[in-house]
């Protein structure tokens, strides 16, 4: 099967499974996910989670569920398509880098130092063969089961390619590991899966990028990311989304945190036509800590919908969410931010802040931040949302120093994002994102 027929069906699921020569348990999981998909109604504007996000223009039946990469294997990044190549920092050694082109992983350079310490960094398809027990235990079981939501179920049935990271107990991985998903084919649906398992006391920085060139036709990126943080594990997790303007992006990312583990996550949303993205942290063990940050910049008629969850199950955990959103033109950003504190979660310290900067009259932002608190003895549970335009006092101050109104506005927007961008460990990605922000402001040539 080089290329499946259009649309999704049980038959396609079986063909995909055969194509990858999958073991029966995995085939079974695909079929079970498909069953859940079929049993789950298609989201509509009547559903609480989808009230402001309309996906009726997404022609699912017209999409290809799988396509081979034009060149199935690239030994070095120089062999990759130019647009993809431009994303990668050529000055950096090619290690700790995995690339998925359309439905296939075409490059995986292991992080050698880390491999010596037992770290596994490979395509998920490969891991199914080589680490069946690990994958069987963690893949779409406790973290993101198909029952999570309609498109997670579709993902479970249709996934291909994917990234697998395993860090053994106590191992600290120095070099950031990086996975880049490149979707370049109009009419294609891709389902990249990322599975990260950090054993107790381990430490990792992981950077995930979803990118695509501008295309002349609809496409779908339907990814899922599952992360397990063992006792005391530490993860910095950065996700950059720079998909082309024709792409629908329906994804989910969920972190399960055991006791005293700590997560520092950053979501960057710049591209795509429409994004509905679930970002969830579940604090299952006492003393766990989750920092969840986000940067979103919408222009033209882009639509972003980030649905976040800070779920406090164990006692004495803390979580803090900060999303910074800029919208211009006719763009819209929805943020549905849930904080859920279970009855046993004494001493919870949870905060969420969503700040929206509106640059044009036609642009809109809807932050909705409900709190559900069952525990009685908590330290803090706070939420704050702001929606506002660029401050005239700031503009006057900057203009009094000679900056044009446009440059003043640019400086204010740059400053709004800068503290988040400057914390990204790879300078080349920082640079690329600043450029992307400038392009969106209409200040730089693409």
């Amino acid at each position: 099967m080089k290329q499946a027929a259009k649309g999704f069906s049980r038959q396609v699921v079986e063909e995909l499974s055969s194509l990858h020569s999958e073991p029966p348990w995995l085939r079974q999981r695909r079929l079970e996910a498909w069953r859940v998909y079929e049993a789950t109604p298609m989201p509509t504007l009547q559903d609480e989670d989808w009230r402001r996000t309309d996906i009726s223009a997404l022609a699912l039946d017209e999409l290809l569920p799988f396509a081979e990469a034009p060149s199935p294997h690239a030994d070095s990044i120089a062999e990759l398509p130019q647009g993809l190549c431009a994303l990668l920092d050529k000055s950096r050694p090619e290690s700790g880098l995995l690339i998925q082109h359309d439905s296939q992983v075409v490059h995986a350079s292991p992080a050698e130092e880390a491999a010596k310490q037992g770290v596994i960094f490979a395509s998920l398809e490969e891991a199914v063969g080589e680490q069946p027990e690990l994958v069987k235990r963690y893949f779409m079981t406790r973290c993101l089961p198909p029952e999570h939501s309609k498109f997670v179920a579709l993902h479970g049935a249709m996934w291909s390619g994917g990234t697998f990271v395993y860090v053994p107990k106590g191992v600290e991985v120095e070099l950031p590991l990086r996975a880049c998903q490149w979707l370049a084919r109009p009419g294609l649906a891709v389902f990249p899966h990322t599975l990260i398992v950090l054993e107790a006391g381990s430490k990792l920085t992981f950077i995930a990028e979803q990118c695509s060139p501008e295309m002349d036709g609809q496409a779908l990126s339907c990814g899922a990311t599952e992360v397990y943080l063992g006792e005391g594990a530490q993860l910095r997790h950065i996700s950059v989304q720079q998909l082309g303007r024709q792409v629908y992006n329906l994804g989910a990312q969920r972190h399960l945190l055991e006791g005293d583990s700590s997560l520092d996550s950053l979501i960057i949303g710049l591209g795509g036509e429409l994004t509905k993205f679930f970002v969830e942290s579940v604090l299952e063990g006492p003393g766990a800590n989750a920092q969840m940050r986000g940067v979103v910049f919408g222009g033209d008629d882009q639509h972003f919908d980030h649905q976040t969850l800070q779920e406090h199950i164990a006692a004495d955990c803390s979580s803090d969410l900060l999303f910074k959103v800029v919208v211009k033109d006719q763009a819209m950003s929805v943020h549905l931010g849930n904080v859920r504190v279970h009855g046993d979660a004494r001493g919870t310290d949870a905060g969420q802040t969503v700040r929206n900067l509106i640059l044009s009259e036609g642009a809109k932002a809807h932050p909705i931040l409900p709190l559900e608190i069952e525990a009685s003895d908590i330290r803090r549970c706070s939420h704050a949302a702001t929606v506002g335009q660029v401050d005239e006092a700031q503009l006057f101050y900057l203009m009094s120093r000679g900056l044009s109104r446009r440059d003043a506005q640019k400086l204010i927007v740059d400053g709004f994002f800068e503290p988040v961008l400057e914390a990204i460990p790879l300078p080349a990605i920082q640079h690329r994102l600043r450029r992307a922000v400038d392009e969106k402001l209409g200040l730089a040539m693409p």
């Binding site: 005239e392 009094s400 440059d407 400086l411």
Partner: protein
Amino acid sequence: MPKPLFVIEDLHVSVEGKEILKGVNLTVERGEVHALMGPNGSGKSTLAHTLMGHPRFQITQGRVLLKGKDVLSLPPDERARQGMFLAFQYPVEIPGVKVRHFLRMALKASKGEEPSVTEFRKQLFEKMALLEMNRSFSERYVNEGFSGGEKKRNEILQLAMLEPEMAVLDEADSGLDIDALRSVANGINKLAGPHMGMLLITHYQRILNYVDPHFVHVLFDGRIVRSGGMELAQELEAKGYEWIAGEAVA
């Protein structure tokens, strides 16, 4: 005869229909430092903001000439490029923008060309040394978390870097303790010179213990009611603004 550097001519300004400035006249030449004193509500801040082009203030009459050219129709950024500068009484926070980056952008915008990185650094560190400022200051976000004194010194640093021809300093001394006041005043003294005209707007006489103006003016109820030298400031300090109020009423 060369044109005067800066002339305010019969300036009337209203805010939301209420007349605040009722005919201000003032001429500042290069190399001159003018102090403009006045009580609360006399129109000092209105004047400062109007001179820089704040959109809130409505000019009903008069002209403001910089090197012979009326600037009242120009937006603030254009006035800055023509050589004007306003040190703010309440400098505004620009979160996430480093002082260094901001100064570079401002320099590029007001001079029309971008200085090279090395040239800019050299210039910045020279000015910071002149103003006895720690270099780490330039890595902080503009006015964010600054103390009152740091905000005012940051204004003086901008003045030093941008080298305007006409500088208006709006209450550069307000809210400062004695050490911060002395440091701001020292900065002003180092920067004043034959190439620049300076208008120092202040409520209190105390900054004039450190900065010697050539002229002192008193603004009262939207008009300059007295002009003189340092002796006028001393007289005000001794007698208070009520003295002027009494005269104005009489």
